[in-house]
């Protein structure tokens, strides 16, 4: 092992929005190892959820992450509704899908802008964020807030999309399409970006399987997974769309997948508006009296990949255990393959390419006795316990 230099990035660094700490161990220009330190943003959300009622948890999980603030309630709704087996009205399904896809548009545009910013291509940053504004305005018209929408509830949605809002929504999509063409053109046809991004931060399909990465990161490496198609929820099995994949696995392929997904989102929203027109005057909320004891599992495809929520109920009005796994949790460790062996200059964009969201991912793995302050279990012991429990579940449920 030769001499290594430590290049610290963070925890407060101009490039980073959120507090997180990367240690790049370098030999000359080449990154040899990446260590990621976290925990700055941990807000004990899972524990807070256990003290709230099932209805209130929606507003907590919405604030796990401000960018994908519909995907968490989406997955949580799927999880809770799977316990009593609620039939969500069709109109509510369409509204949920519209909100989810609008969010995908705003989140992917945000990523394109930030990626441009990381490359020093601030024109793309300004363009993408400028054209993101009408989407946020649309959210304000429909839901009353720009970022945290509070649309979801158990059994449906809280607010209807009114008939006079359909033309506004269609107008937004009509106006957005040429702007998306402009941004896509600016990224895809730019020889400078081709030269800068192709072959940088490559992840092969094997790497994706090793780390269990999900979402656009996996799809850009040719791994064809998408919860919206594989395990359809809301209205995704009622509309016509296709999963976008690319083969190269580099940063350019990730940008390509995200940009082309936006076209699919536009098409999904258009079909949902048609569906809403057919479902005129339909119910938007099914009546749910109580959540019986049981275990609920919910999945949803966030802009960054699969969000997983686990809810355990004992028949009372609040969850006994609530577990969240955000897509960034599996996407972030892929840094170890994409950054290592590249130069320091490529590290930033390789890190940014998976669209990491640290506030989704923050977790703590220790068990303390609160009154004595004594540590009962540490991370390694918890992992062991988790593996043991998984084996138990496997023998219990997978036998037949």
């Amino acid at each position: 092992m030769g001499k290594r230099t430590l290049v610290p990035i963070g925890p407060y660094h101009p490039l980073l929005e959120e507090p997180e700490f990367f240690k790049l161990y370098c030999d000359g220009e080449i990154v040899k190892e990446v260590v990621w330190e976290t925990g700055y943003n941990h807000r004990s959300i899972e524990k807070i959820c256990e003290s709230k009622t099932f209805e209130q948890v929606f507003y907590v999980v919405e604030r796990i992450c401000g960018i994908c603030s519909t995907s968490h309630p989406f997955a949580y709704a799927n999880a809770v509704e799977s316990i009593p087996g609620v039939d969500v009205p069709i109109r509510a399904k369409y509204i949920r899908t519209i909100i989810g896809e609008l969010e995908r548009i705003h989140s992917h545009l945000l990523w394109v802008g930030l990626a441009g910013h990381f490359l020093g291509y601030n024109t793309v940053f300004m363009w993408a964020w400028k054209y993101r504004e009408p989407v946020l305005d649309m959210f304000e018209i429909i839901t009353g807030n720009r970022n945290s929408y509070a649309m979801f509830t158990i059994g449906g949605v809280r607010r209807d999309i009114k008939e006079e809002q359909y033309p506004q929504l269609e107008k937004l999509l009509d106006e957005f399409k040429p702007k998306l063409d402009l941004i896509t053109g600016a990224v895809m046809d730019d020889p400078v970006l081709h030269a800068r991004l192709k072959g940088v931060g490559v992840l092969t399909a094997e790497d994706i399987h090793d780390f269990g990465a999900v979402g656009p990161v996996a799809r850009a490496s040719g791994v064809d997974i998408d919860v919206r198609r594989d395990d359809p929820y809301a209205a995704y099995d009622m509309v016509d769309w296709k999963v976008i994949t690319a083969q190269a696995g580099d940063v350019f392929a990730k940008a390509e997948v995200r940009l082309l997904e936006l076209y699919e989102s536009i098409s999904i929203i258009r079909q949902c508006i048609e569906g809403l027109k057919k479902e005129k005057g339909g119910e938007i909320k099914a009546k749910v009296k109580e959540i019986p004891p049981g275990i609920g599992i919910g999945r949803a495809e966030a802009p960054r990949g699969e969000v997983f929520h686990f809810v355990k109920s004992d028949g009372s009005n609040s969850p006994v255990r609530h577990k969240v796994r955000a897509p960034s949790f599996t996407c972030i460790p892929t840094f170890r393959r994409s950054c290592v062996g590249g130069t320091i200059a490529d590290a930033a964009i390789s890190l940014a390419a998976v669209d990491p969201c640290y506030c989704c991912t923050e977790r703590m793995a220790q068990v303390y006795n609160y009154s004595t302050g004594k540590r009962i279990m540490n991370a390694a012991e918890l992992i062991k316990l988790s593996q043991k429990r998984t084996e138990e579940f496997k023998t219990k449920f997978l036998k037949g």
């Binding site: 407060y12 700055y40 943003n41 941990h42 807070i48 504004e133």
Partner: protein
């Protein structure tokens, strides 16, 4: 003219400190920079180091791990410096106040000059808040 008036008379440089936020306020702060709101017309811009900053924008609850960092950042900032708590979490702790990792709202750790509540506050509200504060100084 006192030192304070002299310091804050010209273009303000902002430093953004995310203590333990959900990204919501952070992207709204970035939104202020983009063409629709364009905070740079007031001469304000985000800077990379707190040593260049006149204003520190703090978002999110202060967690146990960021508490010491916030104090350190405040120590490094050239005085006089103005601290603005942005969002419900920074002002009071908001929805996360009952969590075990919550270590007080921002004003328990460093002196805060202005509070901009909201979850998240709109970019207009942030602009209005900072302008109001400037006129008061």
């Amino acid at each position: 003219m006192g030192l304070k008036e002299k310091c804050f008379k010209k273009s303000l440089w902002l430093f953004h400190f995310s203590a333990g936020s959900c990204n919501n306020c952070d992207i709204e702060i970035l939104d202020c920079l983009t063409p629709k709101f364009d905070v740079e017309r007031f001469g304000m811009k985000l800077v990379g180091s707190v040593r260049h900053a006149d204003v520190i924008l703090v978002t999110g609850i202060v967690t146990r791990k960021t508490r010491e960092r916030l104090k350190e950042i405040y120590k490094q900032a050239p005085k006089p410096v103005v601290i603005v708590a942005i969002g419900a979490c920074a002002c009071t702790g908001g929805i996360f106040a009952s969590g075990y990792n919550f270590d007080g709202p921002v004003d328990k750790v460093v002196p805060v000059n202005a509070y901009i509540p909201g979850c998240p506050p709109k970019p207009e509200a942030m602009l209005a808040g900072i302008m109001k504060l400037l006129n008061k100084i």
